[in-house]
Symmetry: C2
Subunit: 146 residues, 2 copies
Amino acid sequence: MESLDEIDRAILELLQADGRLSGAEVGRRVGLSQPAAAARIQRLEKSGVILGYRAVVDPAAVGLNIHAVVRLRTTHAQLAKALALAERIPDVVSTVRVTGEDCLLFDVHCTHAERLEQVVDSLARFGPVTTSLVLRSYPPKPLPTP
Amino acid sequence: MESLDEIDRAILELLQADGRLSGAEVGRRVGLSQPAAAARIQRLEKSGVILGYRAVVDPAAVGLNIHAVVRLRTTHAQLAKALALAERIPDVVSTVRVTGEDCLLFDVHCTHAERLEQVVDSLARFGPVTTSLVLRSYPPKPLPTP
DNA sequence: CTTGAAAATAGACACCA
DNA sequence: TGGTGTCTATTTTCAAG
C-alpha cells in the first residue's frame, strides 16, 4: 500500500470523475507539469492503486429496466456452487460475500420481471433468497482518500 | 432508448472492460475503420448509453480496509433526511433506494472499525440498521446487452 | 519537477464505394 | 453506413537543466 500525498489524492479524485482526462489536463488541474502528472498517474497504475478504467453504461438505456439486489443465505458447502452459478448468469453483474445471515449479495440487471424470476429461482436452489428492487440509484461518489 | 446492433454491443463490452481504448483500437477489434468506430462511440455517448468514464481505484490500496454494506429501515418522513446525511458522509460512496423492509442500502468504505461505528451510529438515527462486512468482492462483469 | 523538442497517436473531415 | 486518405491537434516520450 503506497502512501499518497495531497496531489495523488487530487489526481485520484479527478480520474474517478473522468477517466479519460489526459496527463496534461490532470497536471493543469493539480498544478503540475504534464510529465510530472503523467509520471504520478503511471505510478498509481503500476502500484495497483488505479485498477483500470471503465466506461459507465446506463442500464436503462440498453433495455435493462429492472435492477435488483438479491441476498442469498446458503451453507458453507454450497457457497462455491452458488458462486459458480452466479458467474454463469450474465444478469448477475456483481457479487460480494458478506458477513451476516445472508452470505452472498448480488446485483442483478434484467430486461423484464420474468427474467428476474428465473434468476432468483436458480439462485434459490442454494438457499433462501431475499430480493429487493432498486427504485433509485444515487450517483456514486469517489472513494474518500484518507 | 436506442436500439443497438451486434457491433454496438461489442463496443460497449470493450469499453466497459477498458475505458481508455482509442477509437482506432475499438474499430480494429470489432472490424470497423477508425472513423466508423469513433462515430458509433460518439453516438453512444451523446444518446446517453455511455454515461461517462471512470478510473477504478482499489480501496485497500488507499487504506480503506473496511468495506461494509449497511441497510437502513426508516420511515417515509425521514427518508430525505437520511439521504442528505448519507450524502454528507464521504465514507458512504453509494446509495440505493430499494423495495422491502430496508428502504436504503449503502456502500461504506472506512479505514478502520471505529470509523465504521461512527457512520453506522449516525445512520441509525433514522431507524434500525443492519451492517454486513464485505469479506470479498468478485470482479464485476459488463452489463448484459440484450 | 520544469521546460522544450521530437516522435507517435488519436481525432476530425472530405470524398468515394 | 462504412472505407480510405489526409490533415491537424493532442499526447506521450525523452532529452537536459
